[in-house]
């Protein structure tokens, strides 16, 4: 029972490099989310998707892009990495809207350092 799987677990990038954080879920959830977690700051929503082909911005979308070509996968793209993007990134999914009492199922995160 895998749930939400994120890869890689750790990554170090140089300023200006690009990378894609992978996220896949096997629960057939329509809703998927990307959050970043900075120390003492809680979780901030970057992007979310309500189904394949539909994405929308969250609170902190600048510097990121997403796509949702399948129900299972929701990759997050960083085009020009900046030190401000050093963070722990969490992917999550939910069966219905998280606002309708549907719990978020989180992956175990990707720790990204940009130097």
């Amino acid at each position: 029972n895998a749930g939400v799987t994120q890869t890689p677990k750790f990554r170090i990038l140089k300023i200006g490099q690009s990378m894609t954080l992978q996220c896949t879920q096997d629960m057939n959830h329509n809703y998927m989310y990307w959050y970043r977690q900075d120390p003492g700051m809680g979780l901030k929503l970057i992007y979310y998707s309500v189904g394949a082909g539909i994405t929308d911005k969250g609170e902190v979308p600048n510097g990121y892009n997403v796509s949702r070509s399948t129900t299972e996968d929701f990759p997050l793209r960083l085009e020009l990495a900046a030190p401000s993007q050093t963070s722990v990134y969490f992917c999550a999914s939910s069966a219905i809207q998280a606002t309708y009492n549907s719990p978020l199922h989180f992956g175990n995160g990707t720790r990204l350092t940009v130097t």
Binding site: V4, Y31, Y33, Y35, G40, M41, G42, L43, K44, L45, Y48, V50, D56, G58, E59, F90, A92, Q97, A98, T99, Y100, N101, P103, L104, F106, G107, N108, G109
Partner: protein, 112 residues
């Protein structure tokens, strides 16, 4: 701007003590969720409260949603080392599709 304010930010107590964590806002939420996160893992849902004044118990944990649905509290009775972790509250604000607003979290450490 932080929509949900959690306090305290850090809590370090001895096994057997009781504690309360608070989650406050000036906004009204349609529901509020509490998560616990352990190092190197994602948050895991503990409970969802929906109705103003609602109280839910999960073994030694008691969750309460304020009457006006602007605040919530988590009370732990006779804390154990296994309760150690980061506790996060998250509120669903009206019809903002898909958006849960998270507090900054309370880092709880329970010493044996």
């Amino acid at each position: 701007t932080q929509l949900l304010e959690q306090s305290p930010q850090f809590l370090s107590i001895q096994e057997g003590e009781n504690l309360t964590v608070y989650c406050n806002s000036s906004s009204v939420f349609s529901s509020l969720q509490w998560y616990r996160q352990e190092p190197g893992e994602g948050p895991v849902l503990l409970v969802t409260v929906v109705t103003g004044g609602e109280v839910k118990k999960l073994k030694r944990l008691t969750f309460q949603f304020g009457d006006a649905r602007k605040d919530s509290s988590l009370h732990i009775t006779a804390a154990q080392p296994g309760d150690t972790g980061l506790y996060l509250c998250a509120g669903a604000a009206g019809s903002t599709l898909g958006r849960l607003y998270f507090g900054r979290g309370t880092q709880l450490t329970v010493w044996p």
